[in-house]
């Protein structure tokens, strides 16, 4: 008779997960599989922020609707009535500017939220392990919900002005997705930089503010002198906003702008994840 030993490997009914902890060097893998395993936590984080935001105050919902509405009114007054800027196509200026604000506000809010999300979650990072990517990603999800709330506003305004979209509108979600890719990428860069350099926090809103005027939110690309137009077209948000308008109003969109958005957005996202993952090991020690 042979004694039963534990070492023959067949004893374990199911393979036991083994966690190996050792110092990591250089660049880390993207870690998307692990993120997937923790997808419930990602939803829970987003759900928590939404719940708190929309429950705490009636103002929460009013703010999401009111902020773009007020900005739209001011922009219409200043740029349209005073400076006589025109929308592209036959779209009323207010609808035109709101469509731009919708996408820009989403981009800007999620960059700002993702950028500051780690500082706000430092109490979690120092106490429990989970894929750190979940924190800025949850911030972006929350802003996607805000985006859909303000999309209702845009729809209402379009109906009011009888601006009816063509079949291209089915591509609008694709545009939003592209915006989300870019915003997440920039947000991840900001979040990780923010841990290493604390004054990034102060820089983010400032740069975003400038960014809005460097992007055709309140004007169309046509008003830029041809000599400088390529500068605006290099900005990936130009492509996203112009493409968004193309799906909503059937306006033309420059191929260069689309190309720039299609190349830059995924690039920023992938490098953003890599940089974030590289900095990740320092989060608990620095925060």
């Amino acid at each position: 008779m042979r004694p039963v030993t534990e070492s023959n490997g067949s004893v374990a009914a199911e393979p036991m997960p083994v966690l190996v902890i050792r110092p990591s060097r250089g660049w880390r893998a993207l870690g998307l599989r692990e993120l997937w395993a923790y997808r419930e936590l990602l939803w829970i984080f987003a759900w928590r922020d939404l719940k708190v935001r929309y429950r705490q105050t009636f103002l929460g919902a009013v703010w999401v609707m009111g902020q773009p509405l007020i900005t739209m009114a001011i922009f219409t007054l200043i740029f349209n009535r005073v400076a006589h800027l025109r929308a592209s196509g036959n779209v009323p200026y207010s609808v035109f500017v709101l469509s731009g604000l919708l996408l820009w506000n989403f981009f800007s809010a999620s960059v700002a939220h993702a950028g500051n999300s780690l500082i706000g979650a430092s109490y979690l990072i120092s106490k429990v392990y989970f894929p750190r990517l979940a924190i800025p990603l949850a911030a972006t999800i929350v802003d996607l919900v805000d985006l859909s709330v303000s999309a209702v506003l845009l729809a209402a305004l379009m109906i009011w002005y009888r601006v009816l979209p063509g079949p291209e509108i089915v591509l609008f979600p694709v545009v939003v997705l592209a915006g989300a890719v870019l915003a997440t990428g920039v947000g991840l860069w900001c979040a990780a930089l923010n841990v290493e350099y604390r004054d990034v926090r102060v820089l983010i809103p400032f740069v975003l503010q400038l960014g809005m005027f460097a992007t055709p939110v309140a004007y169309s690309v046509d008003v830029i002198p041809a000599k400088y137009r390529f500068l605006v077209l290099l900005n990936p948000m130009t492509g996203i906003i112009e493409a968004g308008r193309a799906t909503l109003f059937g306006t033309p969109v420059a191929m260069e702008a689309l190309l720039s958005a299609a190349i830059v957005s995924p690039l920023v996202l992938i490098t953003g994840i890599y940089y974030y993952r590289r900095m990740e090991r320092l989060f608990a020690d620095l925060l």
């Binding site: 070492s7 393979p15 902890i21 936590l41 829970i44 106490k127 392990y129 841990v195 604390r198």
Partner: protein, 415 residues
Amino acid sequence: MTVSVSTPTSSAAIAIRGLGKRYRIGEQFRPSAVRDKLANPRELFRRSAPARSIWALRDVSLDIRHGSVVGLIGRNGAGKSTLLKILSRITEPTEGEARLYGRVASLLEVGTGFHMELTGRENVFLNGSILGMSREQIRRNYDAIVDFADIGELIDTPVKRYSSGMFVRLAFAIAAHVDPEILLIDEVLSVGDAAFQNKCLGKVASMTGSGRTVVIVSHNMDTISRLCDTAVWLARGEIKDQGPTVSVVRRYLSEGTANATTWSPDDDTNPAFIYHSVSARRADGLDGDDAFPADLGFELVFDFTVREQIPPGRLSFRIDGEDGRAVLTTSDTDRGATSNAPWTLGRQRLRCVVPAHLLAPGRYYLTLSEPLRAGNRLHESVIRITISEQGSLVARDGRDGVVAPLLAWTQDGRP
């Protein structure tokens, strides 16, 4: 850090090899500012100069068997929490390696990620997910959690309206139901009232009974002695001693135990209250060494200044035996009717007499509490005394027992 799947080659649940963690300290430790780098462009491309650094943990190798309950003990800054943080994957080691066989959950704090605006029910799902439970698992355990927490109807009220006791009960109840194969716990059992603490200890004890591997960090030798079969003593980031809990705890407590009948704090950070000294003295007032005769008793004299009004009744001390188990705890609220009277401001003295024939001969460690404006702070095992066998009933008759009281035996008249 990587996760792979394989079968363990030994019966170890946790295998640690040469683990070390270095922290950079001093000015370099602070996150830098872009401003500084731009102001000094050369800095932009230069790696920061090697900063002063300390090893919080160095060359730690340890095997923890499946199903064992291990207590990590050591003074503050000995590296206990750092080790737990590395094993929990919160921070990375600087060198070495650790392998954990099985699903790991860590409990470094009770109520991590609780949101004040959310209800108890919502926080069960939030906190459960953060601790690594699936939604399905939380749903299955939901009733048991609410039951254990004893919250009742208030489960649908925002937790900001909970008393601190309720908050802690709910938080622990969630953590107690995580159900991993390896559980890492840091000093979280010292929360809540005594009754709930016992319930928690009972819960942890039942978890440990069912083949789970548990690593506990605690300053409380009583907790360690009650729960752990093995103890590991860390000192200055290295393993100083390991083995059966009773012997490690005994050696730990007796370290540097020459005369320590008087204690005074080394810092003065408490704005409300300051200890000048606390000392144990023979009841007959004679000076002597630290051995108090069993038939004499001793008194503990607190010399302190109350600087600001603080909630009354928080001057207390605990006497632990050599094995780390608590023998008794007493508080100045025992003064009776006047106990809840406000403090007199200024310097004062308070005495507590520990009567003769109470403690059995042996070594004892006194933990003192220092009242803060809110709560209190413990000074663990700062006074160490010996009760000698002189006049002891235990020594005379060879009796068993932790205490050696002289009880009243009376004879009734003939029935």
